[in-house]
């Protein structure tokens, strides 16, 4: 539990962070909340020679609506989301997910940007961002670029961020009438990574017809996954329990879980199905309430 030795650099601006990153190249890692990186370093699975602390860069910690977009700064912590009035009022799915991450002390440090940038299919935000159809804004030495969330997750701990990129902002289409989202996960005990997690973001009209739908899954696939087939099955149709059941069934079929200590592949498919059904219902309830 003692990491290998490393040099610590604190960046106070993005520019400064890029300068360090360019200087140390492959041997360097950005540090945000540190709650994914530091455990790996303590186990010596990861031994970066240089740590570039970006956690104190000003101006990357906010939750705000602007031009019909919800913008979340990368350094926003889980606790910030959990206790945000804006999230409570209009984006309860973000409160759902933050509450389910680790424990209070983890949530005080862990950042939303880090949760995505870490590229771990067991993390909870990726599925939520898939459901919310987020846009990820990255900045590197050569400027900023947008990455649609569907192109963001590439492999085990691998994302579309380029080598020196810093994820600076997450953009989510602002909620409107008829929109409701929910996240839930099944875990072995509180603070555990999901055995399966389901994020649903749903927009219905007054006749309960699905106008828009996003469904993302946590930890039942090598990379965070969108359940496109289920989304297609729902979109444009009037919501019924049969239809929701069908979407759940598809989620169970299309995911690709691996047997591990949490359970067998069949178990994970089965609970993914059930959790999808329940989470769609929860999102629907919220969507109706917003009409």
């Amino acid at each position: 539990m003692i990491p290998a030795s490393f040099d610590y650099h604190r960046a106070s601006t993005l520019q400064e962070a890029f300068t360090f990153a360019q200087e140390y190249g492959e041997d360097a890692k950005y540090l945000a909340g540190g709650h994914s990186l530091i455990p790996m370093m303590k186990l010596r699975f990861s031994e970066p020679a240089h740590i570039i602390d970006i956690s104190r860069i000003q101006g990357l910690k906010y939750i705000k609506e602007e031009d019909g977009i919800l913008k979340i700064g990368a350094l926003t912590t889980e606790a910030d989301l959990e206790f945000s009035d804006l999230c409570h009022d209009k984006y309860p799915i973000l409160v759902d997910v933050s509450k389910l991450i680790g424990d209070p002390s983890v949530r005080n440090k862990a950042t939303v940007g880090g949760n995505l940038a870490h590229g771990d299919a067991a993390n909870d935000h990726p599925a939520v961002m898939l459901a919310l159809k987020a846009n990820i804004v990255a900045e590197g030495p050569n400027g900023t670029h947008n990455i649609p969330v569907d192109e963001f997750f590439k492999g085990f701990f691998e994302t579309a961020l380029e080598q020196h990129d810093i994820l600076i902002e997450i953009q989510i289409p602002a909620t409107k009438a008829g929109n409701g989202g929910a996240y839930n996960k099944i875990e072995r005990k509180v603070g555990d990574y999901a055995t399966s997690g389901v994020a649903v973001n749903l927009t219905v009209d007054t006749s309960d017809t699905v106008v828009d739908i996003g469904i993302g899954l946590t930890n039942v696939n090598p990379v965070p996954m969108r359940v496109s087939r289920a989304e297609e099955a729902l979109k444009g149709n009037k919501l019924t329990q049969e239809l929701i059941e069908k979407a759940g069934k598809i989620a169970g079929e299309d995911c690709s879980p691996t047997a591990d200590l949490r359970g067998s592949e069949d178990y994970k498919r089965s609970i993914t199905k059930e959790l999808t059904i329940r989470t769609i219902n929860k999102a629907w309830e919220r969507a109706k309430a917003s009409l």
């Binding site: 010596r44 590439k154 085990f156 701990f157 691998e158 996954m225 047997a259 591990d260 200590l261 069949d266």
Partner: protein, 197 residues
């Protein structure tokens, strides 16, 4: 921890050529992500370096590749790659059994890969080991096909990388691969012994 993966795939090349390539340890090594041969110990044994990089995770091993069985008549080959972590954290063994069959102009390859992981990686990485093994295997097959086709393997493909994972995301139950993790749960409950197969 043990993971076994059974896979059958086709290569659009004659058996004799596939066989010849498989007998060349340097060609085989080139196709396995992260492997580099450094020394020939005997006709059937080679030393090498194995590097594994998964995002922030790094591991390096001292490896030995052994041709445990070469049966020209049956076109069957058993390759065992053993890697011992350079920092004493454990070891990985990958036993690859391949059987070739000619069918027209293509070669059918029946493969079983048994991966055994011992030490710290098995303790902490259990949730990743079968996915990563599956992935390494897939990348090996792709690289091998590239090489047989007379093309250069991309530098990127010599490391484990994301492309192939993202590309194989939907493993729906209809097209379910015959891969499975050997049961690691209750040793007593015989009923569940094979449930994950």
């Amino acid at each position: 921890m043990k993971v076994s993966i059974d896979k059958n795939f086709e290569i659009a090349q004659p058996v004799s050529k596939v066989w010849e390539y498989l007998l060349d340890p340097y060609k085989v090594a080139e196709c396995v992500p992260g492997v580099k041969l450094t020394e020939k110990i005997s006709e059937t044994e080679y030393k090498g370096d194995v590097g594994l990089k998964l995002g922030p995770v790094n591991a390096s091993f001292n490896g030995v590749i052994t041709y445990a069985k070469v049966d020209e008549v049956a076109r069957e080959i058993h390759l065992v790659g053993k890697g011992v972590d350079k920092k004493g954290k454990g070891s990985v063994e990958m036993a690859l059994e391949m059987k070739l069959q000619e069918s027209g102009n293509v070669t059918m390859v029946n493969t079983t890969m048994n991966v055994t992981v011992i030490g710290v990686m098995a303790q902490f990485g259990s949730r990743l080991i079968s996915d990563v093994s599956d992935h390494i295997f897939k990348q090996f097959v792709e690289n091998f096909q590239t090489l047989l086709a007379g093309k250069e393997i991309d530098d990127q493909d010599k490391q484990i990388h994301g492309g192939a994972v993202a590309g194989t995301v939907v493993k729906s139950i209809t097209s379910k691969l015959t891969s499975g993790v050997k049961n690691i749960f209750s040793k007593k409950d015989k009923k569940e012994e094979n449930e994950n197969e």
